[in-house]
Structure formats: structure tokens, C-alpha cells
Symmetry: C2
Subunit: 232 residues, 2 copies
């Protein structure tokens, strides 16, 4: 089945206390997008964090570093002015997810306190407003070891199982699949990023046509337990 | 701009010596897909490897392990029956990219010798046949540290720069972007995987509507030099 990834334009700058659910829905309607059953709405965490007031002033590089350290539960590596750190949610990323791109003034943006809950709140609002059965993915841009460049991944989900588990499924030759766990919400976040653009300020996209598994999993379930992780 | 990701069905089992370019083009035509300027054709490496004869018999687990070790230039970790290894191309992945899912009989499939060259060959064939300016991405399914589940990434590219470099670009607030290198071909591979399905045997998808940067970069450029990598 063909997948479409539709950018939602016209959302504009988000400020603390803004009703993000209503703003996105208005922008979608003005863009001619009607949310349908099975749509996955991907939202970059930055607008979620801004609406939730997760910004602090950090005018200098030292302030920025201090905020990142305060958000980290463990620092895995230091790399020039950057730390690779574990966040309270368990995500491993640069500067514990603290970011100062696309932020006005001296502020830096922290990750949402509970991105799965943020996703849930948005999903409930949008499902009530539209009557459609939806999933919501909140994304952030992470680096990774071994490979250059960054990709978007999921840091919050609602309504969809983050892992597509093919355990026991057979391949086309009748053999049991060895690859059994697909991080489908990370692939959804990556697909959405292709229409967002880092500089363009398109923070929301609708992924339509995907056959996804309805579920109540959480993005934090994507965190590989440290004991199972050979690269911590 | 809306992105569409179109699966190419009806490709069937690929055997050594098969003319993969012709088979995919036939299947696309039968699926009603006409390749257009700007299309990115994503091909899972497995059909490329099969067509190129990159299969060896490995009936037992010990044989499988031996083949993986022979394909590795360095073993980073051992994990049960799996090794995390560096391939000759520089990719870090499970079993040095050797895979036995979706392979008939006792065979296992190795990575293509030069996936960038494989991508180039396919692109030239398809561009000649269609007159369209295309990009080709060859994908594989990799795990990653810290996060559960696997995602598809690019291991070969042709016609497109693998990294979208935003260095010097300004964000919506006029500040220079800190995130400057997007691994756009990995995001393309991930988007394509959403329509392929691991068990369903859809090895090719067309990503349409993306504004990509024409270039002669190679997927091996995505390999982070070991000296820059804090997690090797």
C-alpha cells in the first residue's frame, strides 16, 4: 500500500501555554488536511516542549552546558562542547536533549517531562475533534555511533506499538525470521522528517496509509536496558 | 511537499545472474508505476546480493558464524550467537551483514562487494530505460546501541548526496543551526521499509516528492571515522 507523508504548514511559533492541539488542528484544516482513521501524526518535540513551557534562559555556552548536565542522569562521553548523556527518560543523545536551534532569544528547550503523556494528550484531543482513530509520535533528532549524520527518532508515542514484533513470523521461504523487532515508530519519525526540513519550521507531518498495530506501548520501551546494551 | 512511498510488488525470488534492473523495471510497469524525474528507488540489499551471486552455503549455525567472521574486519562485541562486527565497507552491524532470512535452502547472503557501485549500475540502467533523473539507495536492516528494534539504513547510494549538509543555514529565528548533518538517505531507507514488510517480500519501493540534493556521494561516506567515534 502506498504511504503518503503530508507536511502540516502554517503552525508558526509556539509559546508556553499555547494550545498546541488546537493550533495544529487549525493549521491542518487551513492546509486542506482532514485527519483520517489510521493516520499517524508526527510532532517534533520542540513545539511540544515550548507549549509545555520547557524552556529556560541560557545565554552563554556555559549556561547551556549546565542546563544539559542538569537534565542528564549519566554522562557517557564528552566531545568538545557537547556531552553524550542519558536523559531521565533513558534516551541517549547529545546534550541530554537540550537544544537551542529554532528557539527565540536566550532560551534553550528541554525535552518534555513525559513525552508519552504529551503524545497521549494530543491524540485524545485530536481523536475527539475528528472522530478518527489516530496514533501520535513525538520526534527528536538524534545522532548515533558509527554512522555520520543525524536522523529523527521517536521519543513519545500514543496509540501505536513502538516495536513491530515479528517473532515467529515466517519469511518468504518459510523460515522463521531472525530479525523480529522493527522500531517502526523510529522509521515513522524518519519518514516525517523528510518533509519537515530542519530550517523550514514545519513541526508536524501526517503519515497516511501505514498498516500499524494499535497498542498502548510507550516510546521509553524503545530504550534498550543498560544490561542488554554492549555499547554503554 | 507531500512525499509518497510506493511499494513495487511482484518481483519474486531473485537468483544469481538475474538481471535485477530489468526485473524491477518490469515489475514496476506491471504495478502501474512509471519512474519520474526526482524519484528515489530504494532496493533492499538482499535482492542485489542474490543477483550478484553473493550467497554461500552455510547449513549449520557454526558455518553461519564462520561466514560472518570471514566477512568481518573487526569484531566489536559478541552477543550470544551474534557478533557485532565491522564490515569491509566500514559498516558496523550484526554478523557483518551476513543474513539467512528470506534465503532459500542452506544459503546465507553476504553484503554486496561494493554497494555504491551496485546502486550506480542500477541507476544508470533505469535512467537509460526511462529517461528520468533518479537516485538509488540500497538498504539493509541494522540494529543500534541504546535503542531496541531495528531500522533500515542505506548501505549503497547513487545520484544523491547521502548527507544533507545544512552547515551555515539559519533556523526560523535567524540563529545558525547546530544540527547540520542529516543522514537523509538513512531516513529514505527507513521510510521505504515502512511499505516493504520484512516477511512480505517487497524488496523495492519508490520514494517520490522528496527535494533531494543531486550528488556523487557514497554510502560509505556515512561511516563515521573510528577516530571520531566515541563508541567503538
Amino acid at each position: 500500500m502506498t504511504l503518503t507523508v503530508i507536511p502540516v504548514t502554517g503552525i508558526g511559533e509556539i509559546a508556553p501555554g499555547d494550545d498546541l492541539a488546537a493550533i495544529v488542528l487549525d493549521a491542518a484544516i487551513r492546509s486542506g488536511i482532514t485527519l483520517l482513521d489510521g493516520d499517524v501524526v508526527v510532532v517534533t518535540h520542540k513545539v511540544v516542549s515550548k507549549a509545555e513551557g520547557r524552556m529556560v534562559a541560557a545565554p552563554t555556552d556555559e549556561d547551556y552546558r549546565a542546563v544539559a548536565l542538569a537534565e542528564a542522569t549519566e554522562v557517557l562521553r564528552r566531545r568538545g562542547s557537547m556531552i553524550i548523556a542519558v536523559t531521565r527518560h533513558g534516551f541517549v543523545c547529545a546534550n541530554a536533549g537540550v537544544d537551542r536551534s529554532n528557539v527565540p532569544g536566550d532560551a534553550v528547550v528541554l525535552l518534555p517531562v513525559d513525552p508519552d503523556r504529551s503524545a497521549h494528550t494530543l491524540r485524545v484531543r485530536w481523536e475527539r475533534a475528528t472522530g478518527a482513530r489516530l496514533a501520535v509520535v513525538i520526534s527528536d533528532t538524534f545522532g548515533r555511533p558509527w554512522r555520520r549524520g543525524l536522523t529523527d527518532v521517536a521519543i513519545g508515542v500514543s496509540g501505536i506499538d513502538p516495536i513491530l514484533d515479528l517473532k515467529g513470523a515466517l519469511d518468504a521461504t518459510g523460515r522463521v525470521l531472525e530479525v523480529t523487532e522493527i522500531a517502526v515508530v523510529d522509521e515513522i519519525a524518519a519518514a516525517a522528517d523528510l518533509v519537515m526540513g530542519k530550517a523550514g519550521g514545519i513541526p508536524v507531518a501526517v503519515v497516511r496509509g501505514l498498516e500499524w498495530v494499535c497498542g498502548d506501548g510507550r516510546a521509553v520501551d524503545l530504550v534498550r536496558p543498560a544490561a542488554e546494551d554492549f555499547f554503554r
